[in-house]
C-alpha cells in the first residue's frame, strides 16, 4: 500500500471553530489533492498541490485553505467550520507522468455541530 496517512480519522467540532486536517505521504510524490465526498456529488476537488508551496483551487474551495511547506505534508484548514462542511474528506497523491496512478488515504469523517 502507498504510504499515505490522514489525521485525524474522525473529528467532531463546533460551528465557527477552525479545523486542520493533515495528509502525510512517504512516497515523495509531487502532486497532492484534497477532496470531499458527499452523497450524490461524488468526489469534489477542494484544493490541490503541484509542488511545494504550489497550490491551486478546485471546484469547492470556498471556506477552505491549504498549505504545503514540504513535500510530504499537505494541510487542509477550515477557517471557520460550518455545518455544510460536514463530510468525508479524502487526500490523494500522484507521482506524475512516470507514475500516474493516484493513491488515496482512508478518509477523515468530519462532523460540524
Amino acid at each position: 500500500d502507498a504510504g499515505i496517512t490522514q489525521s485525524p480519522r474522525h473529528k467532531v467540532t463546533e460551528t465557527g471553530t477552525p479545523v486542520t486536517l493533515r495528509c502525510h505521504q512517504t512516497e515523495n510524490h509531487r502532486y497532492m489533492y484534497w477532496y470531499r465526498q458527499d452523497p450524490g456529488h461524488g468526489l469534489r476537488l477542494i484544493h490541490y498541490s503541484y509542488g511545494v508551496k504550489d497550490t491551486d483551487k478546485g471546484e469547492v474551495s470556498d471556506g477552505y485553505s491549504v498549505s504545503r511547506s514540504k513535500t510530504e505534508d499537505f494541510l487542509l484548514t477550515l477557517e471557520s467550520a460550518t455545518s455544510s462542511q460536514t463530510s468525508v474528506y479524502f487526500c490523494a497523491i500522484n507521482g506524475g507522468p512516470r507514475n500516474t496512478e493516484a493513491f488515496f488515504g482512508q478518509g477523515t469523517r468530519l462532523t460540524v455541530v
Binding site: Y31, Y33, G42, D56, T100, E101, G107
Partner: protein, 112 residues
C-alpha cells in the same frame, strides 16, 4: 464546467449479466483517464487507467474500458458481474498541472 461526466447515477443488474458504466470527458482533461471503485465504507481503489496506446484497457476483477477519442468516452464494461462487484464506481481524468477530477459516481448494484 464539469470535465468528467458519468451518465448514470445508479445501475442495477442481475448477477452474471453484462454491465456497462458510461463516462464522457471534456477537452479540459488530457487523455489520462481512470476508473476507480469504492466498496462500502472503504477508500478508493484503481480499477484501470488509460495513458496511451491500445484503446482497450484491461483492469482488475475482470473489468475493461475502451477509450474512444471521437466520442470522448471511456466506458467501463464487465461481461459477467458478481454480487461482490456491488460498489460505487468513479471515472476520473487529469487536466493541467495534474488536476485530477472525478465524475459524480455510478452505484452498481448486483442483485441475485
Amino acid at each position: 464546467a464539469q470535465s468528467v461526466t458519468q451518465l448514470d447515477s445508479q445501475v442495477p443488474v442481475f448477477e452474471e449479466a453484462p454491465v456497462e458504466l458510461r463516462c464522457n470527458y471534456s477537452s479540459s482533461v488530457s487523455v489520462y483517464l481512470f476508473w476507480y471503485v469504492q466498496y462500502p465504507n472503504q477508500g478508493l481503489q484503481l480499477l484501470l487507467k488509460y495513458l496511451s496506446g491500445s484503446t482497450l484497457v484491461k483492469g482488475i476483477n475482470g473489468f475493461e474500458a475502451e477509450f474512444n477519442k471521437s466520442q470522448t468516452s471511456f466506458h467501463l464494461r464487465k461481461p459477467s458481474v458478481h454480487i461482490s462487484d456491488t460498489a460505487e464506481y468513479f471515472c476520473a481524468g487529469i487536466g493541467s498541472n495534474y488536476k485530477l477530477t472525478f465524475g459524480k459516481g455510478t452505484l452498481l448494484t448486483v442483485n441475485p
